[in-house]
């Protein structure tokens, strides 16, 4: 619990910002130098769903039963009501309840 001294934290913060800006523009820039064939376009179109699946599956596996329950609640809620906020709220409530019950 020591207060940070000097400019080092500010340097670290701007280093983080620079790293983040780099990855934010790099993918778009890169695709300007790849010919937009039918195959490339289809791959880019498949990318959003793939990013989502690649993020969710390991995080749920890592989070155990309460995380699995939460994601199941989110998916069922979305299929029934198509409301992201309601789905996420219900999912988090399910996880909180499961954890309070010791799951």
């Amino acid at each position: 619990m020591t207060a940070t001294e000097g400019y080092a934290p500010v340097v670290a913060i701007f280093a983080m910002a620079g790293a983040t800006y780099l990855v934010r523009v790099a993918g778009f820039w890169l695709m300007a130098h790849v010919p937009m064939t039918r195959r490339v376009r289809h791959t880019l179109e498949a990318l959003p769903g793939a990013i989502l699946a690649a993020t969710v599956v390991p995080l749920v596996a890592r989070g155990g039963a309460s995380a699995g329950l939460a994601i199941a609640v989110v998916v069922v809620s979305m299929i029934l009501r198509r409301n992201e906020f309601l789905a996420v709220f219900l999912g988090m409530a399910a996880a909180a309840a499961a954890r309070a019950a010791g799951l």
Partner: protein, 237 residues
């Protein structure tokens, strides 16, 4: 199959549509930012430093992970590892930017690149869904981001000051906000079992990568595998 999505453009209407579409994300964003503020306070950052980080980095997961690497004193080596960890956690933005190329590509570079600096999970998700439904207004992407940025930066302050309120984010399921939103967004993106094969590959490869490779690389590895397979299986024109 001759329907072409409309050419990209910017409008004030898109900006305000983006602001409206950001509303479902506001509670989660505020609580997530507050959790970051709390942890930043515990790590010994000043209030100004915590707010500065939220303002210029604007990427929640990477800010939380950076707090784990943050150690006093901040040597050059520590700063370098903080920057590398940040880049790795945010590597998914690279793929998100690539996925925006077919849409934003025709716009002038001096307009697109500043807008891309605001890329986060939420504005990319909202924009991709809007595009899937046939929209062309790139300002939607920016409208979501600017709205969330105000709440993200603003909510860092009470989190920092009232640190004890969310001392244990897991108790309220807050650690699941990002995967929950991602899972929710998969439902409107569903295009039948044939496209679903790519998702299954992405999930399976990411799961394997999470066991074999340290850190957050599993997102990039799994997503690339899933998109390549999904792209190969897609036999439309």
């Amino acid at each position: 199959m001759t329907q072409h999505p409309p050419s990209p453009y910017w409008s004030m209407a898109g900006l305000s549509l983006g602001a409206r579409l950001a509303v479902p994300f506001l509670p989660g964003t505020a609580v997530f930012a507050a959790a970051f503020g709390t942890i930043a306070a515990q790590k010994g950052l000043t209030l100004a430093e915590a707010v500065l980080m939220s303002a210029v980095v604007f990427a929640g997961a990477s800010q939380l992970v950076a707090m784990e690497v943050w150690a006093e004193p901040l040597t050059l080596a520590t700063v370098a590892s903080i920057a590398v960890v940040t880049a790795i956690v945010n590597m998914r933005f690279l793929l998100m930017g690539a996925s925006l190329r077919p849409w934003f590509g025709p716009l002038p570079a001096w307009q697109v690149y500043p807008a891309l600096l605001t890329t986060t999970d939420a504005n990319w998700l909202v924009a991709i869904r809007y595009r899937t439904e046939g929209g062309g207004d790139a300002a939607v992407f920016l409208g979501v981001a600017l709205t969330l940025w105000v709440f993200w930066v603003g909510s860092t302050v009470p989190g920092y000051l009232l640190g004890a309120v969310v001392s244990d984010p897991k108790r309220f399921g807050l650690d699941l906000v990002m995967p929950a939103f991602f899972a929710a967004m998969m439902i409107p993106l569903w295009r039948g079992p044939r496209r679903g094969v790519g998702w299954a590959v992405a999930g399976a490869v990411a799961l394997a990568a999470a066991h074999l490779v340290p850190g957050w690389w599993f997102i990039v590895i799994g997503a690339l595998a899933g998109a390549l397979i999904g792209g190969l299986l897609d036999d439309r024109d």
